[in-house]
């Protein structure tokens, strides 16, 4: 009882600071890998995404890192709508204000676009098939008045808004979209109607589109008020797989 040894063998006491600095090596090694990952991740992730989607495509639904969409909503959950009573309003500086039902939109000329979806923070979904009505076709149907310089958008979520200049709005790569991946838009992706602005970062592609208002000037939208660019063109050197429309 007086003896302090409990085990049969006497253990040599630890000498702090003795040994090789493995901890430091692990830290430096990991940070080095991290830097390499940042530099090469854009290409790595494209290759990885192809591999995953051709073998276990379900993974990208759970882990967006495998080339899938992240779902953003600025309110609690998704706003609800009734398909029969849903109307996309088009007003402001137009000859004929419109109130388009889903069947009205379906009866207009449909356009398909297969383009990358690129978020400003970096994630990208490659070659996404979208279809709907060209925004410029919707605007022609309403008749844009002289002096109109911008198009402002609002969501029926009650919070999100966006905008385009009139020149931008008339581009051939901007859709009032009703389908994604050859299916009608699902709630998480902005059902029943959203905007898809192919040449710009994803935040311009307002979901749960409620109203289009033609105006004199651009009204900076939700994320622009929080510091993001109004002109959200995706950069030249971004490694996007799709070709830009001039």
């Amino acid at each position: 009882m007086s003896n302090i040894e409990t085990n049969t063998t006497e253990v040599a006491p630890e000498v702090p600071g003795l040994g090789s600095p493995v901890g430091r090596r692990v830290v430096l090694g990991m940070v080095g890998l991290g830097i390499a990952g940042v530099a090469g991740g854009s290409w790595l992730s494209a290759g990885m995404t192809d591999a995953i989607n051709s073998t276990v495509p379900q993974v990208s639904g759970v882990f967006p890192g495998a080339g899938g969409f992240r779902i953003y909503t600025v309110i609690s959950g998704y706003p609800s709508y009734d398909a029969a009573s849903y109307r996309l309003t088009v007003g402001g500086l137009v000859d004929k204000p419109l109130s388009l039902s889903l069947s009205d939109l379906a009866a207009m000329k449909q356009t398909g676009l297969t383009k990358d979806f690129q978020c400003v923070t970096g994630w990208r979904v490659a070659n996404v098939p979208w279809s709907g009505v060209l925004l410029s076709d919707v605007l022609s149907a309403a008749g844009v008045q002289a002096g109109a310089g911008a198009v402002n958008f609002n969501s029926f979520d009650g919070a999100y808004t966006e905008s385009l200049t009139m020149d931008e709005a008339l581009r051939p790569d901007i859709l009032v979209a009703t389908s994604l991946f050859n299916q009608p838009l699902t709630d998480e992706h902005g059902a029943p109607v959203r905007l898809y602005v192919a040449p710009m970062y994803g935040y311009k592609s307002i979901k749960w589109l409620g109203g289009i208002t033609v105006a004199k000037t651009v009204d900076p939208g939700y994320w622009e008020k929080l510091g993001y660019d109004v002109e959200a063109w995706v950069g030249q050197s971004n490694g996007r797989s799709d070709a830009p429309i001039a």
Binding site: I4, N7, E14, G17, G34, V38, Y72, S76, G77, G122
Partner: protein, 216 residues
């Protein structure tokens, strides 16, 4: 004077415990908010992207503060020295679970090799997540391919962090005495002789030469 069998050893100073628990709370917030930003099922359910994002980013930027403050603690600096260094016993410990389990098996210092690797992983992860997160947040300073690369690293490392942190918590749940050491700061000598035999031997030798253990 020699330690009695029911002696208690000073294991973690106040500064070390404060560091551990503040980092733990911030990490849990980061993981939970991160999950709500990343996993589609949660981001749809919870929504409120701007609020969740802000909470996540703030927690991330707060994370280095307790670490920097802890550097002022001598006890912490000494422990980081222990955590950094591997002897041949550490490699033996990693290689053979059976060798470890044998009574009087591999001598283990204040931290075993698993704990040392965990500390290195945690530090590296914090650095990498802060760096890649900053690229995503201050994105206007970085070309798109760098933003994509940063997102890629941030995504996959976050999954590794969850796995490793769950493992850490699991191990902690399996040893009440170790857990209590991070709460009270002290651990019984008898536990130390079983789990960290070389550290116990060092503490006994120190006690018998009457030099006080660092408590700052």
């Amino acid at each position: 004077m020699p330690l009695s069998p029911d002696a208690v050893l000073a294991r973690f100073s106040k500064a070390e415990r404060a560091l551990h628990w503040s980092v733990a709370v911030l990490m849990i917030i980061l993981i939970l908010t991160g999950a709500c930003l990343y996993l589609p099922v949660l981001s749809g359910l919870i929504g409120n992207r701007y609020i969740v994002q802000t909470l996540h980013i703030w927690s991330g930027f707060l994370l280095p503060i307790p670490i920097i403050l802890a550097m002022f603690s001598r006890a912490f600096r000494r422990d980081t020295q222990r955590l950094n260094r591997f002897t041949s016993y550490d490699w033996q410990w990693l290689k053979s679970k059976r060798a470890r389990a044998r009574v009087g098996g591999v001598p283990v210092g204040k931290f075993n090799a698993g704990q040392k690797l965990y500390a290195a992983f945690a530090l590296a992860s914090i650095i990498i997540m802060l760096g890649t997160g900053s690229i995503m947040e201050f994105n206007s300073y970085f070309q798109d391919f760098l933003r994509t690369g940063a997102t890629f690293v941030h995504d996959w490392l976050s999954l590794a962090i969850v796995v490793v942190v769950v493992g850490h918590i699991y191990k902690a749940l399996g040893d009440a005495t170790a857990r209590m050491a991070m709460v009270t700061g002290s651990a019984p000598l008898s536990w130390a002789e079983r789990e960290h035999s070389a550290w116990a031997a060092e503490q006994k030798a120190l006690a018998s030469t009457e030099s006080p253990a660092p408590t700052a």
